[in-house]
Amino acid sequence: MRSSRGNRILEYLVVFVIAVSLNFFLPRLMPGNPLALLAGVDVGLMTPEEKAKVKEEAGLDRPLWEQYIDYWNDLLHGDFGYSYKQKAPITKMIGDRLPWTLLITGSSLIISAIFGVIFGAISAWNRAKPVDIGLLWTMILMGSMPTFWLGMMLISIVSVDLQLLPSFGAMTPAFFGTFWESVADVASHTILPVITLSVWSIPGVYLTMRYTMLSVLGADFIRTARSKGLSEKTVLFRHVVRNSLAPVVTVLAIRLGFAFGGTVVVETVFSYPGLGRLIFESVSGRDYPVLQATFLVITVAVLVSNILADMLYPLLDPRAKAN
């Protein structure tokens, strides 16, 4: 048992090292370079000597392997460095944006978990009945709607035409209200991005729940439970739903990891000041240090959420522990 746990930890370590190395190499394998960010928009007007000096200051003139060693060295010392573009410490840049990202992705995760599980259970319990077919079609439709399109539609209808909710940002710029007024302001800015994310996210949870529950409904122990004379309510909640939750929890745990990466499309459509928008702008400008740091955040979050799922699974399904 102990050696199995040791192997697992080793596996995670290997995955971590590979992922962190990819974070370093992948941005550098992309065509183009970050010179425009380093030197400013008028980089083309600089002399070759001036450009060489800029590259030298950023260490980009050195061999890749030397940069790679430095990268690990800085990483182990918790130093993410400075952004090429914003000339600001990356730790602060991530710290400014991560809470906003987690607010919308976390809210959407909770909503998708609740509605996905409930609708999945209703659907499976009423298999092939109109309510199941109706839900299934609705979920397929929701899942196939591009998030950018949905976001733009919501802005156009809810914000521009009906003027009910704000169309951009995490709060009204330079808003100075009481604490509760600020909470209300932030909440009003959160609604449309969260709806957009949830519409995309609920079908995944729904389908997992529905599929798993259908398998459980056909299992022998459900037949046994019914033959013992248990009420349908007891069978549903104590036996069916509970035994169907393990795969759903795994899906949610993995999504929790990716939640740290933000959602590039939604944050862009709503001009939301999150990590996804930062990643998008950093990819466009080849801001290597920011890309490395943000990808690291995602890497660590995904690995931790996987570990969490590994630990939770046996609790929800004792057979996994036995195996």
Partner: protein, 542 residues
């Protein structure tokens, strides 16, 4: 009778004056406004001279907090600002500047000649992109007294007033002399110490900047008390916010298709004028057969630029001149003709033996079909549409184009590797465009076409033409304006004859704002409507 004549004459003069003053300004209601919100795209970091990110809006916001020795007037030409008198030595190597004595930084310290010297010395020691280029040629500065300074150059440099004096912010010695790593230095306060009309009081990454009026500004208290610059991820979300009146001004010019829609909103106004940006098709001389002038000219004749302006820009652009310079420039050579002529295009290709020998509708050159990739950045819908229309027109003359829509950085890397023309070119044809500065300063044309890459450091096509080089060299040393103008006109003719690139059009800059909220904005060609002049009293305009 005399009385009536006087009245009519008075009315006429009055109308002319009103017209003259309103031609470049949107109006001047003299109304003071508590708060204005302007939408910008992207985050510009903490906006000091070393941390701002882009030329637009970064530099524009920077200059709200700082002042330069000269500033751009309403006509886009540099006008004295911190300077009251400038004397240039006969050898063009020394500028003696007399400064105003009533300018203060927002921390209460006076701006003096010592700050000017410090700024030039500091930028030499710690070069930063735009300003390093601006002050190129600077040798030393000699403070004569608190308000008088000599700037010495290593060699004469044409247009130094515009390049250096009207662009570089003068920053305070007492703050920056302590800073030894300016790009990474983190100040404790978000407030930058500058002498400009606004003081930054709040900065929220990816959200907004809040600027408060500097009530002690030497040119008068700004008419807008608080300026909020709201950051958006892209244009479409800023337009949606504008339509809901969540922002009052769009910093960036709007696309042509938005003009009529926004004009229809009560309280919204649009102001339009030359942007001095360009849309070009460039061809790589190293990629045969673009080394042949007949081929380049044939492509120019085959493109109906007026139709492109009408179809893609809905008329909100000026047709490009083969000589590069905007027809509204006072230095435009009207002898340079730009025509659309399919028959001429075909005959030019025929004349150099590029014909369709296998009857498939595509001509062949040295046995290979005339098929090329025209690359364009995928984040610019207008350029993509232009490329698609050009593709259709070139097929009419037997040239097959494939439009390659690539990511911005990849596109730049193919056309301009490392932003250094000495590193070659990896494209056949590309859509391209230069920012306003390159076109607005007519005398920068040699940078695009000189074969010596020290001068022609924007020569992306590889053009090498002795006549162009000769005229460009003369321009560099000629100091008499009339002679320089004559030379720049000759250069336009030579460029049109060589056709190293095709100037498709000069887009107009339509800018949208809620005039019902504030109607005192100043439109500066190539600068837009969010600039210093828009917010200071009109009486202080240079």
């Amino acid at each position: 009778m005399k009385h009536y004549l006087k009245t009519i004459l008075g009315l006429l003069i009055g109308s002319v004056l009103v017209f003259a003053f309103s031609s470049n300004t949107i109006a001047d209601s003299h109304k003071r406004v508590d708060r204005l919100r302007a939408a910008i795209i992207g985050d510009e970091s903490t906006i000091n001279p070393f941390t701002y990110v882009t030329g637009e809006p970064g530099w524009n916001i920077l200059m709200m907090q700082y002042d330069s020795l000269y500033t751009l007037g309403i006509d886009g030409q540099p006008q004295p600002w911190l300077v009251t008198k400038l004397v240039r030595s006969a050898d063009r190597l020394t500028y003696t500047l007399t400064l105003r004595d009533d300018v203060y930084y927002n921390d209460g310290k006076k701006l003096t000649a010592h700050d000017v010297k410090f700024t030039f010395d500091y930028l030499t020691k710690y070069p930063v992109g735009r300003f390093a280029k601006d002050i190129r040629g600077f040798s030393s500065a000699n403070v004569l007294n608190d308000y008088k300074i000599e700037i010495h150059l290593k060699k004469p440099r044409a247009g130094y007033v515009r390049k250096a004096f009207a662009d570089v912010p003068i920053f305070p010695r007492h703050i920056w002399s302590e800073v030894t790593d300016p790009k990474k230095h983190q100040f404790e306060s978000v407030t930058n110490v500058g002498s400009g009309p606004y003081i930054m009081v709040d900065y929220k990454p990816d959200q907004y900047y809040r600027l408060k009026a500097n009530h002690k500004y030497f040119a008068g208290t700004p008419r807008v008390e608080e300026l909020i610059l709201v950051k958006f991820a892209d244009e479409s979300s800023s337009h949606a916010a504008f339509r809901t009146n969540s922002v009052d001004i769009l910093f960036k010019n709007i696309p042509p298709e938005q003009i009529s829609m926004l004009k229809g909103i009560k309280g919204v106004s649009i102001v339009q004028g030359p942007l001095f940006t360009t849309q070009l098709v460039i061809m790589n001389y190293d990629h045969k057969p673009f080394h042949m002038v007949e081929v380049r000219k044939a492509i120019a004749y085959a493109i109906d630029r007026q139709k492109l302006v009408d179809t893609i820009y809905l008329g909100a652009a000026t047709v490009g001149s083969n000589g590069w310079i905007h027809p509204k420039s006072p230095y435009f050579n009207n002898q340079v003709k730009t025509r659309y002529n399919l028959a001429k295009a075909k005959s030019l290709l025929d004349s150099v033996g590029i014909k369709d020998t296998d009857g498939d509708g595509i001509r062949e050159y040295e046995g290979k079909p005339m098929a090329f990739e025209l690359i364009t950045p995928n984040n610019n819908a207008l350029r993509l549409r232009l490329a698609e229309l050009i593709k259709g027109k070139l097929l009419d003359v037997g040239i097959k184009i494939t439009v390659g829509s690539v990511e911005q950085n990849t596109w730049e890397g193919a056309v301009w590797p490392d932003f250094d023309v000495n590193k070659g070119r990896n494209y056949a044809m590309s859509m391209w465009g230069w920012s306003a500065g390159v076109q607005a300063d007519t005398f920068r044309a040699p940078e695009l076409v000189h074969s010596n890459t020290g001068v022609g450091f924007l020569n992306l096509t590889g053009v090498s033409n002795k006549e162009i080089d000769r005229i460009s060299n003369l321009m560099d040393t000629e100091d008499v304006l009339a002679r320089r103008v004559e030379l720049v006109k000759q250069l336009q003719a030579a460029i049109a004859e060589e056709m190293p690139f095709i100037t498709l059009m000069y887009p107009d800059g339509p800018y949208a704002y809620w005039s019902s909220k504030y109607d005192g904005l100043a439109y500066i060609s190539g600068q837009g409507i969010v600039n210093k002049l828009s917010f200071i009293p009109k009486s202080a305009w240079p």
